[in-house]
């Protein structure tokens, strides 16, 4: 409980938020969103574009005030104790927060000084981070000449100069090519190993699956699911039955019969996916129901549910790109 001398409460959560609401005009960007993140863990906020992920990060990192709701980060209230919160966190946004006309080492030294290091200590910290992120060679080049992956790495390095306890990463790999993304993943895994709390947003299910211990799914401003990746997969179903249809007509017919139950649609490959428990009677019953004439389904496969299935099952049709014909699952996971 807050008191006069130390407003920080003893709490077991690195981040805890309840009832966060933010409205722009008539649009409710966040609608009573709440979550809890354990210290030293990697937590991923997953959601489609426009779900409110960036708003959530900006509120938790004190850059934006919520209209309603409360949150504590590193034990401090994000409104009353926002200066203390800022001294405990770092934020890396979607766009590199760096001066392009300055060199890598100049950027890092500046951030080191702003985070309270003086003189030679700022230089040492900058060199240390450049080495850790494989940027020593490029240290004396202007950031404007860096590749996208290098800029992201420098941006993350810049956010670490003050040794924050809680690190916010807003879509850290959006727009990066695959090798650069894998480098970032390694960097984030190393960070998590060093004991800091990482809160990252992503629209890549694969990324959340790879990095995060716990995941919350944000859709249209609401947290629609929360748990470990395994729990979320269990929530939908253990297995998925993938049907390959005989032709476009058969695809349309089967899609119509399945309705909302299909969690995966790929018209170009003529495949539909339906959650199932994977037992023979259940699969047989499903096949009989969809294709009593035994003319539509050409082949089928049963496989483990992915986070994609969870995501598609949980998010609303308006913001769910997977329900739009012609948008393949690949695009959702890798766009």
């Amino acid at each position: 409980m807050p008191n006069q001398t130390d407003r920080r409460t003893d709490c077991q959560w690195a981040i805890e938020a309840a009832g966060l609401t933010k409205t722009y005009g008539s649009t409710k960007v966040l609608d009573e969103a709440g979550l809890r993140v354990a210290p030293g863990s990697v937590f991923s906020l997953l959601g489609p574009n426009g779900a409110g992920k960036t708003t959530m990060v900006r509120i938790l990192s004190t850059l934006l005030r919520p209209d309603a709701g409360r949150a504590r980060v590193a034990g401090f209230d994000i409104i009353a104790d926002r200066h203390q919160v800022r001294r405990s966190i770092s934020l890396t946004g979607q766009y590199a927060a760096l001066d392009g006309l300055l060199t890598g080492v100049e950027n890092l030294r500046m951030m080191a000084r702003l985070s309270g290091l003086r003189g030679a200590a700022a230089g040492r910290r900058a060199d240390e981070l450049l080495a850790r992120f494989g940027l020593t060679e490029a240290a004396r080049r202007r950031v404007a000449t860096y590749s996208g992956g290098m800029r992201r790495r420098l941006d993350l390095a810049a956010s670490l100069v003050g040794r924050p306890g809680v690190i916010f990463l807003d879509e850290p790999t959006t727009g990066l090519d695959l090798p650069s993304r894998q480098v970032m993943w390694q960097v984030i895994e190393d960070l998590a190993g060093s004991g800091v709390t990482v809160f990252l947003t992503t629209q890549y299910l694969e990324e959340a699956d790879q990095l995060a211990g716990r995941v919350a799914v944000l859709d249209a401003g609401r947290i629609v699911a929360e748990g470990t990746t395994a729990e979320l997969k269990d929530r939908v179903a253990g297995q998925r039955l993938d049907l390959t249809l005989a032709g476009p007509g058969a695809f349309a017919e089967a899609e119509h019969r399945l309705g909302d139950r299909a969690t995966h649609r790929d018209p170009s490959a003529l495949t539909l996916g339906v959650p199932t428990d994977g037992t023979a009677p259940a699969v047989r019953a499903l096949l009989d129901e969809i294709d009593p004439e035994r003319a539509l389904v050409g082949a089928f496969a049963v496989r483990a549910t992915t986070l994609d299935d969870v995501f598609l099952a949980l998010t609303s049709p308006e913001t769910n790109p997977g329900t739009c014909p012609g948008t393949s699952r690949k695009e959702i996971a890798h766009a």
């Binding site: 409460t9 709490c11 959560w13 309840a18 709701g69 966190i89 100049e106 000084r113």
Partner: protein, 272 residues
């Protein structure tokens, strides 16, 4: 509203900044000033323009227009303070642009999440403006002396003239910084240059106020640019400055204070 409660185990932050130091550390001002000064030297084209423009403008007025303007003295002697003032004004648009660029780019979020306040951020841009103006003033004086400018000023008068110009630069640059916070794009911020430009042209910078239409005398004779120019002229030529001196200081001080307040308020509004 749901209650947030928790048990033991505080989450310790390991930052370098002591949590008890909540006011802005003075070093932040230096760091931000160094940043902006360094950025200014990296924009070579803009830097060359800001250094060359005053000299070109002075040569234009002295050799192209000056012959037709009767001021009672050699025109070069008359025009130097006006050139410095006009260029400080036009150059301050750079401050509006760089402030706006910061606000529309990602870096402002980094500064804010490092808990850097609005005053150090804006002061950095103003400091860069002061450095640019100091460099262009030295260049203007050097060229002016080469083409016949002959001041009659003591060291103290030189220092006082420089002080008045500095005060004007601070006031107009802070006003520009506030403007940069109020507009949406750097392109729009650049339009700030027209404010000090019109103010300079409607002053005694290039022609004596008595040659203007009589209805303009009241404004043109007492507006801040005229007061600053007449003060500098008096100090550099060793003539009487009268009430111009303290009025110039009062105007610039007033604009400075109002602009700092406006800038801080606009920053809060923009980052709400």
């Amino acid at each position: 509203m749901p209650e947030i409660t928790g048990a033991a185990q505080p989450v310790l932050a390991a930052g370098h900044r002591p949590a008890w130091r909540l006011s802005t550390p003075p070093a932040d001002y230096l760091t931000m000033a160094a940043r902006c000064a360094r950025l200014a030297t990296r924009q070579v084209d803009a830097l060359v323009t800001s250094l060359a423009l005053p000299v070109v403008l002075m040569l234009t007025f002295v050799y192209l227009f000056g012959g037709a303007i009767s001021t009672g003295t050699r025109y070069i002697t008359y025009v130097v303070p006006g050139v410095l003032l006009l260029c400080a004004g036009v150059g301050s648009a750079t401050t509006a642009v760089t402030v706006c660029q910061d606000m529309t780019g990602g870096i402002i979020d980094r500064f804010r999440s490092l808990d850097v306040g609005s005053l150090p951020i804006l002061s950095g841009h103003v400091a860069a403006s002061v450095v640019r103006n100091a460099a262009s003033a030295v260049l203007v004086f050097a060229v002016a002396l080469g083409i016949g400018f002959r001041p009659h000023a003591s060291l103290a008068a030189w220092a006082a003239a420089a002080g008045v110009l500095l005060l004007y630069v601070l006031a107009i640059s802070w006003l520009a910084a506030a403007f940069g916070l109020l507009v949406a794009s750097p392109e729009a911020a650049n339009a700030f240059m027209f404010v000090p430009m019109i103010v300079a042209y409607a002053s005694s910078a290039f022609v004596p106020v008595r040659t203007m239409p009589s209805w303009l005398h009241g404004v043109a004779g007492h507006q801040p640019a005229t007061l600053v120019i007449e003060t500098m002229r008096g100090l550099l030529l060793g003539t009487h400055i009268g009430a111009n001196g303290w009025q110039a200081v009062a105007w610039c001080g007033g604009i400075f204070v109002v602009s700092v307040g406006l800038g801080a308020a606009a920053f809060r509004r923009r980052t709400r």
